[in-house]
């Protein structure tokens, strides 16, 4: 990809992460976008492109109006919910690299706890004869209605095939919460958990316990992308976008790709992984820390396998002994992840990647040169590598 190492994230901004923001999502989007501009050291009037999730309910024209952007030359949306965080950045990077826009704003803002509870699933969803709505007819009438239950179906099969256990999933939650415990921005700041806490937490959708599931959060995260040349004029150390990729694989469904010969891998993440490694010339050994999308812990394991950090079915051994915690071989989700910090559809995980590159994370990993960030799993997805090296 010809924009590899040619663009950068130059500003990040977020609101506080909470269970009840007390403000509208539109307000949150505005505040986070202003904060990102301030962090980048640019005026909102310089922004001429916006790239957002199609799940985003706060229109780019409202943000543009609020921030007084005189003109937008580029605006786009990436579908499929949590699969989009690196996808929107890829759009931004391609736009600035091609010259269509100079500074592109990306953001995600919602009250997914105090307004609509995101985890409640699709029980009352819109009915229509359109293909997207019909796709739920194969699952909703049976009570398979929530993201947790959709992921649980994969998890049961993964456990069966590879001998992984609920405790293996729990180790991801323990690592996330350990990192959140030392991150003042995290909702679960100073609230670590033990594996026993995880095992004792109530069932949501077996084999998922409550503590296998990410939070529902109120909050917003925004960032600014521009070319590397412009980035060099700004004061922050640029988080260079080594590569950013999207992925859909054969016989893809939304959260329910249950009809493939094998359902223990995440082939769409494999599509992303191959592009990222090929475009950057990097491999698993070159990554010092990663944000691995963690809406539900079981799907963290096959992501590690898709990227080649370990072999197929071996993630349970890879994550044992604190290897994914600070001080381990591959610390992941050093902000606390979506279980510990907040669930902002992965955008807060991208921001943590930027901080690790800048050297400003509260849980800084030493000598970081390359950070992997992944998007939501079981959906059409995305991933990116941030790097210090142009």
């Amino acid at each position: 990809m010809n924009f590899a190492r040619q663009t950068a994230i130059v500003g990040i901004g977020a609101t506080e992460f909470s269970k009840n923001s007390g403000r509208t999502p539109m307000q949150l989007a505005t505040e986070a976008s202003l904060a990102a501009c301030a962090d980048a050291g640019i005026s909102p009037q310089q922004i001429d492109g916006v790239s957002i999730f199609s799940a985003e309910k706060n229109p780019e024209i409202e943000v543009a109006r609020n921030l007084g952007m005189p003109e937008l030359r580029f605006f786009s949306m990436i579908p499929h919910g949590g699969g989009a965080p690196a996808g929107v950045i890829q759009q931004a990077a391609m736009a600035v690299h091609s010259g269509v826009a100079n500074y592109v704003l990306v953001y995600r803002a919602f009250n997914e706890r105090s307004w609509h509870r995101f985890g409640s699933g699709v029980q009352g969803r819109h009915q229509s004869p359109e293909a997207f709505d019909i796709s739920f007819s194969w699952s909703s009438p049976f009570g398979l209605l929530t993201p947790a239950s959709w992921v649980a179906m994969f998890a049961t099969r993964y456990m069966h095939q590879y001998g992984a256990t609920s405790e293996d999933f729990g180790r991801v939650a323990v690592a996330d919460r350990k990192h959140a415990a030392t991150n003042p921005a995290a909702f679960f700041y100073e609230k670590p958990i033990t594996l026993e806490d995880h095992q004792n937490s109530r069932w949501i959708a077996e084999p998922l316990h409550l503590l296998d599931c990410c939070q529902e959060s109120d909050g917003a995260q925004a960032m600014i992308i521009t070319t590397l040349d412009r980035a060099k004029e700004l004061s922050n150390q640029p988080a260079i976008i080594g590569a950013a990729a999207q992925g859909v694989a054969e016989d893809q469904h939304m959260m329910k790709s249950y009809h493939r010969p094998d359902i223990t891998g995440i082939p769409e993440m494999g599509v992303v992984a191959r592009q990222l490694w090929e475009s950057t010339g990097l491999g698993p050994d070159d990554i010092q820390t990663a944000t691995i999308y963690d809406h539900f812990t079981p799907l963290v394991l096959p992501q590690l396998e898709e990227f080649g950090f370990c072999g197929r079915g071996e993630a349970k051994d890879f994550i044992a002994g604190g290897n994914i915690e600070l001080g381990g071989g591959l610390p992941i989700n050093t902000n606390g992840g979506q279980l510990g910090e907040a669930y902002i559809h992965g955008m807060n995980g991208v921001a943590e990647g930027v901080r690790q590159i800048r050297g400003t994370s509260v849980n800084q990993v030493p000598d970081v040169t390359n950070v992997l960030v992944t998007g939501g799993t079981a959906v059409p997805t995305s991933g990116l590598i941030l790097t210090t090296e142009a």
Binding site: P129, F136, P141, L144, A152, F154, E206
Partner: protein, 482 residues
């Protein structure tokens, strides 16, 4: 729990007590043990032991001739169907005297609660049975879930045409006053209201159940949903290369052909993966809700509910069988239950069975047809087992399975596990929640004792949506090893 009794109740109980010990006159069966009745019985119970119906196999067996299923012990002397033109029942029978006295006092409802059968020998074609019943106990008035009532216990000894003992039956029924029972099971929420002195039915009136999320379709998938209405599981097939697709597609991904029809799947499948959903709870479903990823033997997978099992009974790879459920006026869904376990044709030998061995579970769909045909096959013409109007009038929500059918189904399941040469010695059944049409009964059990003489004791239960329909034990003699 015994309630405070009035003087009238006490006097009535005295009267009932005076009947204990009454022995009726011997009753001889109207017909000898015969193949036609055995065959009907086996058909209704899905009993497949060839020694009951296949003269050739039976002659070569340990029995040397066709024998009757032991669980049919008390079928032969059943009084038959009286429509008014036959001689009436013998009202001097101790059970009849007691039942009539109770009915006259308002205890019109009746349910069987215990049936212990002891088999001295298997019955042969031509045997003529005589049963002699004795009233052995009448309980004080008890408050039960069904209503206020008395338990009445009789013991019947059966002899053959030579006067030799062939078996005995210990039988207990509850005679109750319809409408005096608990209106609903008392869960924690209801109990809290009762404890607070409130009437739960007033505080939490029953709401009509919200329907499940409605499936939507257009002309691309309508044939699938129309098939379900007809109890057919239709799977898309591209006609050029036979590719099966589910969910259906608009083009064959291999050839890009647009031409397709469908096959009707056999309904045989295995469990590929599953989840047990606990939270959030949507009112349309029972929780925990088991949702499976089911792999049809034709090779495609679909999402469905797994019914008739507890989460602990699930295992990946378990064989499944399709069932159907009407969820809306014009929508039928598929659901899957565990497939029937294989029938053993080579009998288990002594030493092949250990204490703790689990029996394969069997899920029996309780249909109106099974309840009625089971009642008729066991020659039990009590109206509550075949006449819905009569059952409603007597305080039941529907017709319900008779205990002889439950016993027959249990023995058929046990026989499938043990094999044709296993000899049933004794089957003890306690009856709990009724088996109403539309439910599923799941049989499960394990070996609790293995005696040196080859007798194996199995503890078992049959569970439906309301709880334990039957619990009990069976003693089965296994043949010596080779």
């Amino acid at each position: 729990m015994t309630d405070e009794l009035s003087a009238e109740d006490e006097a009535f109980y005295e009267q009932l007590q005076s009947m204990v010990g009454l022995t009726g006159s011997p009753k001889t069966a109207r017909d000898p043990v015969n193949q036609s009745t055995i065959r009907n019985w086996c058909d209704a119970m899905s009993e497949a032991n060839p020694y009951f119906t296949d003269a050739e196999a039976a002659t070569a067996s340990l029995h040397g001739q066709v024998v009757a299923p032991p669980a049919a012990l008390n079928v032969w002397t059943m009084p038959g169907l009286f429509m008014g033109h036959q001689p009436g029942r013998d009202t001097k029978e101790p059970a009849a005297i007691t039942y009539n006295a109770l009915a006259a006092a308002g205890f019109r409802g009746v349910v069987a609660v215990n049936s212990d059968q002891v088999y001295t020998r298997y019955l042969r074609l031509g045997d003529v049975l005589t049963g002699t019943a004795k009233l052995v106990d009448v309980s004080p008035q008890k408050k039960t879930g069904l209503g206020v009532g008395h338990f009445v216990t009789t013991e019947t000894e059966y002899t053959d045409q030579n006067g030799d003992h062939v078996g005995s039956l210990f039988f207990r029924v509850l005679k109750f006053k319809p409408g005096t029972g608990r209106k609903k099971p008392v869960d924690a929420k209801r109990q809290a209201l009762i404890d607070a002195g409130l009437d739960p039915d007033e505080v939490m009136p029953e709401q009509p159940r919200r329907p499940r999320p409605l499936p939507q379709w257009n002309q691309d998938q309508a044939w699938h949903w129309e098939g379900l209405r007809q109890r057919e599981l239709r799977i898309q097939r591209f006609t050029d290369d036979g590719t099966l697709m589910h969910p259906p597609a608009n083009s064959n991904p291999n050839t890009h052909s647009l031409e397709y029809d469908y096959i009707v799947a056999s309904g045989r499948a295995t469990l590929y993966s599953y989840t047990v959903v606990h939270y959030p709870q949507v009112p349309a479903f029972d929780y925990p809700n088991i949702v499976g990823l089911v792999e049809l033997e034709e090779g495609v997978r679909l999402i469905s509910n797994i019914v008739g099992v507890t989460p602990e009974q699930l295992s990946i790879g378990m064989p499944l069988q399709v069932e159907y459920i009407d969820t809306h006026d014009d929508v039928t869904l598929h659901q899957f239950r565990p497939a029937d376990p294989p029938r053993r044709t080579t009998t288990l030998k002594r030493g092949e069975v250990q204490v703790g061995d689990e029996l394969p579970i069997k899920v029996i769909p309780v249909t109106t047809r099974l309840v009625v045909s089971g009642a008729l096959a066991t020659r039990d013409f009590q109206d509550v087992h075949h006449d819905r109007d009569a059952a409603l009038m007597k305080g039941s929500k529907d017709i319900f399975m008779n205990i002889l059918t439950s016993t027959g189904l249990t023995n058929a399941w046990l026989g499938d596990w043990a094999g044709p040469d296993a000899l049933f010695k004794k089957v003890v059944i306690g009856l709990g929640a009724p088996n109403y049409p539309g439910d599923l009964m799941t049989m499960s059990g394990s070996v609790t004792e293995v005696d040196a003489d080859g007798t194996v004791t199995v503890g078992y239960k049959g569970v439906n949506k309301l709880g334990n329909h039957i619990t009990g034990t069976a003693e089965i003699l296994l043949p010596k090893g080779a």
